[in-house]
């Protein structure tokens, strides 16, 4: 199996950047802020290396098994990263901000339904049914990630929640790559897997490489802001709960409310 010079460079650059990012996450202790992101990037490094070696050795059946096995694991890990971001954004000092997670879950449910419907609506020009399902599977993944991240942005905006800078940047990188993948998968769904397939996939790979470089720079830098210490939080909480108590004391009684 042949590999063009451009593809070889792209593959090598991706492996190098993945390795650099793993070192950054470990060396700078960013894995504490984003453990699932660290697992996702580390598994990406291992499997990209494995795929490259398998490809070079010409083991096409093993390559196919690895590729599709990884695709499923990759989707699950990306969902774990989204949940990790959601927990960071929608939780304050260990507690969900009231009403935020239920709204996010409702929007996530709608996102799953929309992604499935849109992915099933496409009929790409393919010869084999497996290729059709491969295109639909990829489309479903990228649609779901884009919609979930948009839902998270929407809920955080509705509740006026600020984001920790590293988490925000992980999200930016993920969504930039997912939106590019969405365009690629949308065109694959129209043209099938024969026309412009390799060129389009290169665009996706360049976008992934771009996100890796962005994550490296963003996570290497120090985070803006700090976490609140428990004693300060407790002191200020009691002060403001007092204000809340004084106000709630004046609320109408249940009897009045339902009269």
């Amino acid at each position: 199996m042949g590999l063009s010079a451009l593809d070889t460079v792209l593959w090598a650059a991706t492996i190098v950047m993945l390795a650099v990012l793993v070192v950054t996450l470990v060396f700078k202790k960013r894995f504490r802020v984003a453990p699932w992101f660290t697992i996702w990037i580390s598994s990406g490094l291992t499997l990209t290396l494995a795929l490259y070696i398998t490809y070079r050795l010409g083991r096409s059946s093993l390559y196919t098994i690895l590729y599709w096995g990884w695709a499923v694991a990759d989707l699950l890990l990306q969902l774990a990263v989204i949940v990790e971001i959601a927990r960071s954004v929608l939780k304050r000092d260990g507690r969900w901000v009231e009403g935020s997670h239920t709204r996010f879950l409702a929007m996530a449910g709608v996102s799953v339904l929309l992604s499935v419907s849109l992915a099933l609506s496409v009929h790409p020009a393919t010869v084999y049914a497996t290729d059709t399902w491969a295109v639909r599977g990829n489309l479903f993944t990228t649609l779901l990630i884009c919609m979930l991240f948009s839902a998270l942005m929407f809920v955080s905006q509705q509740f006026g929640l600020s984001w920790r800078s590293h988490i925000m940047r992980i999200g930016y990188g993920l969504t930039a790559w997912a939106l590019t993948s969405f365009i690629v998968d949308m065109l694959h769904s129209y043209w099938g897997i024969t026309r412009h397939y390799a060129q389009l996939d290169r665009i996706r790979n360049f976008a992934y490489l771009g996100s890796l470089i962005y994550w490296f720079v963003a996570l290497w830098r120090a985070e803006v802001g700090k976490k609140l210490s428990p004693d300060v939080f407790s002191r200020l909480s009691s002060l403001h709960e007092q204000v809340e108590y004084e106000l709630s004391d004046s609320s109408p009684t249940d009897e009045e409310r339902f009269s």
């Binding site: 849109l118 948009s150 942005m153 006026g160 109408p252």
Partner: protein
């Protein structure tokens, strides 16, 4: 052809919203305190306080301000739109104050967020009742909820500025 048009529309919506979110966040980070405070719209706080007080004295005689009067005292639809706008600005002002007092600013912003959720829920209830006349609603309870939540937000924000940056307190008091 239809599915690709549908997906292109989905892409435009998702990419458009995400771009808007990023730009809005950046604009919020870059704006000055003066720009922020200029967004506060005038509200007759003494009238609002009377409605909030009818909440406070609900055990005694909570009907001493009639719902129709409350509606006028809060400035009707325009007044409620102002309260919604000001609630958002107050939240931004609390987040801004994190620059001077990170810990307290963050905690107070969280408490104000809860008040703002109460305020917006009550506003939505009122809007829904106007959109659907068959829907029964206890207007006076929602108006009292709005006044109470707004007063709490104002009180918390002023207390935060008293500790974090007292120099700006008079200007803030005047605006609110």
């Amino acid at each position: 052809m239809f599915p690709i048009v549908l997906m292109a529309a989905t892409f435009v919506m998702l990419a458009g919203y995400q771009t808007y979110f990023v730009l809005r966040r950046r604009r919020l980070q870059n704006q000055t305190w003066e720009q922020l405070i200029s967004k506060i719209q005038p509200v007759d706080f003494s009238q609002l306080q009377k409605v909030a007080k009818s909440y406070l004295e609900s055990g005694k005689d909570h009907h001493h301000v009639q719902p129709a009067d409350m509606w006028i005292m809060l400035g009707q639809e325009q007044g409620l739109a102002r309260l919604r706008n000001n609630a958002e600005v107050m939240l931004d002002l609390a987040v801004y104050a994190e620059r001077w007092n990170f810990h307290e600013g963050r905690v107070i912003a969280d408490f104000m967020r809860r008040d703002s959720v109460r305020l917006r829920t009550a506003l939505r209830e009122i809007e829904a009742s106007f959109a659907n006349e068959s829907r029964t609603t206890q207007l006076h309870l929602h108006l009292q909820e709005i006044s109470s939540a707004y007063s709490a937000m104002r009180q918390r924000l002023l207390a935060l500025y008293e500790n974090a940056n007292a120099g700006r307190l008079p200007q803030l008091q005047a605006a609110l």
